[in-house]
């Protein structure tokens, strides 16, 4: 029985860093006050939340009072999009987004569309990247929000947010004062340097559990001066924008994780990219008929998305899992209907390529030996599944 277990799914979530877990454990035991309480226990909790807020702000070069803690990336995306749209409804009901957003952006845009909003979904072409000229053409006088992710969760392609930010500022300077730019940076945070001033975004989403912290905490950066309608009502927390007693231990963990991510960014990205590049080189050498999905240069350094021809992603995923290697596929077959990954489909590839895509995402605790083992079992699994596949063998007509 295979004992070895290798986690290559860091874009889904990351293991909690020991230092983060220790900070969180101390907060659970020692900092139990309600940050809204006036007494010493409450003030101790408030101070812990504020320290974390400074660290999360520092990770993206924001001011601490521009950070709103949420329950995660999905809530932050909901708050950003719904919050801006509700505030700006008198100025227009048009949103510009991309075809490859995370479901928490895609879903909110679709829900608004059902309520009468118009949504323009920009193509990403075969490299998986939005074109700035398309954004320029898509923005109308009644556009109130552009929401384009910073880095894609399946293929890792990095979108030209700074250029889009410059465009949005230009339109605002020309009089379109209620046009805002939101970017979902959940995948990018901790994996590339982030600076909200350079990006020119007005709202930016991050999530703790992609940064070696636990699930259940996220943050929305809201540039000072941007008006946002809160979606959680019933308390004064987070400057009236997100009611509810703060998740103090989770926020403390997020703060510690953000600090470590900032301090260790270079070391982590160098490590991850070295493993990823070595992995890809070996795959290309050893496995014929593979398709690398998304731009090969303008992408996150820890992630590789590969389609293996003639086989289906879920079958490969389970085969790898049986050998102890954990990866992801964007396609899912359920109740006899197949949802090929909308992201891979947006690249203009065939259903077969979209169904055969697998995401390998490396992390700071992976080793060269993990890469070797993953490649070894991958080669075997692909060979086994291709032996089974009818796709590369035409059916003889009798």
């Amino acid at each position: 029985m295979q004992e070895r277990r290798i986690y290559l799914d860091h874009s889904a979530t990351t293991p909690v860093d020991r230092r983060v877990a220790e900070a969180m454990a101390r907060a659970v035991v020692q900092v139990f006050g309600n940050p809204s309480s006036v007494h010493g226990y409450g003030q101790q909790a408030r101070a812990a939340v504020d320290r974390a807020r400074r660290e999360v702000a520092a990770l993206i070069n924001a001011r601490p009072n521009e950070i709103i803690f949420t329950s995660g990336g999905t809530e932050a995306n909901n708050l950003a999009i719904r919050g801006v749209c509700e505030t700006s409804i008198a100025q227009g009901q048009h949103i510009v987004t991309s075809a490859i957003e995370h479901p928490s952006v895609r879903g909110v845009c679709a829900a608004l569309e059902q309520r009468g909003w118009e949504v323009t979904r920009l193509p990403v072409y075969e490299n998986g990247i939005v074109r700035v000229e398309d954004v320029r053409e898509a923005i109308r006088a009644d556009t109130v929000l552009v929401t384009v992710m910073l880095a894609n969760n399946e293929i890792g392609t990095i979108q030209p947010i700074a250029e889009i930010g410059a465009l949005v500022r230009e339109r605002r300077a020309a009089g379109q004062r209620h046009l805002f730019l939101h970017t979902d940076a959940v995948q990018a945070a901790g994996r590339m340097a982030l600076n909200v001033e350079e990006l020119g975004c007005d709202l930016l989403t991050t999530s703790a559990h992609k940064l070696y912290a636990p699930k259940g905490v996220g943050a929305l950066y809201v540039r000072r001066g941007v008006r946002l309608t809160g979606q959680n009502i019933g308390g004064h927390q987070e400057r009236e924008r997100r009611a509810g007693t703060e998740n103090v231990p989770g926020i403390v963990a997020f703060g510690e994780a953000a600090k470590l991510a900032r301090e260790e960014l270079h070391e982590r990205t160098t490590h991850d990219s070295s493993l990823r590049d070595s992995f890809e080189q070996k795959v290309i050498e050893l496995i014929p008929e593979v398709v690398m999905n998304g731009d090969r240069k303008q992408r996150l350094l820890h992630l590789s998305n590969i389609s293996f021809r003639y086989i289906e992603g879920e079958g490969l995923l389970i085969n790898l899992d049986l050998q102890g290697v954990a990866v992801s596929t964007g396609s899912a077959c359920s109740s006899g209907t197949l949802e090929p990954s909308p992201v891979i489909r947006a690249l203009g590839v065939t259903d077969e390529i979209a169904r055969g895509s697998i995401r390998f995402s490396f992390g700071k605790d992976n080793t060269d030996s993990d890469v070797d083992y993953a490649v070894e079992v991958l080669v075997q699994a692909v060979e086994r599944l291709r032996t089974l596949s009818p796709l590369n063998r035409p059916l003889a007509v009798s």
Binding site: Y310, I318, L388, S389, P390, L391, L395
Partner: protein, 119 residues
Amino acid sequence: MSYSAAFKDHLAHPRNAGELPEASVVVEENNPVCGDRLRLSLVVRDERIEAARYLAYGCPPTLVCGSVLTELITGKMISEVRDLTRADLLEAVGGLPSRKHHAAALAIETLNAAVSQLP
């Protein structure tokens, strides 16, 4: 993922994968909605299935149902395999989540198509 030990075993060690050059019948059925495919080759002599091979493309239950199906039918009389149901196949794979029952349905459909096309 709560697949049975039998399921995992068939996935890691597929039985009867491939094709039969001397096949009495070869059929390929697909699920038009999800794109799963199953190809079944049978050698039938005197109403008995002497050999069965399969090729499959799709989610793991489709791959496993092909493997299990060939084990269930090899050596059986045609009259016996006509009575094989989706439930029999599901039992043999150790159960499947309901959202994956279509894999067993495709396997039975492919078997029925093969049997109906026998010379």
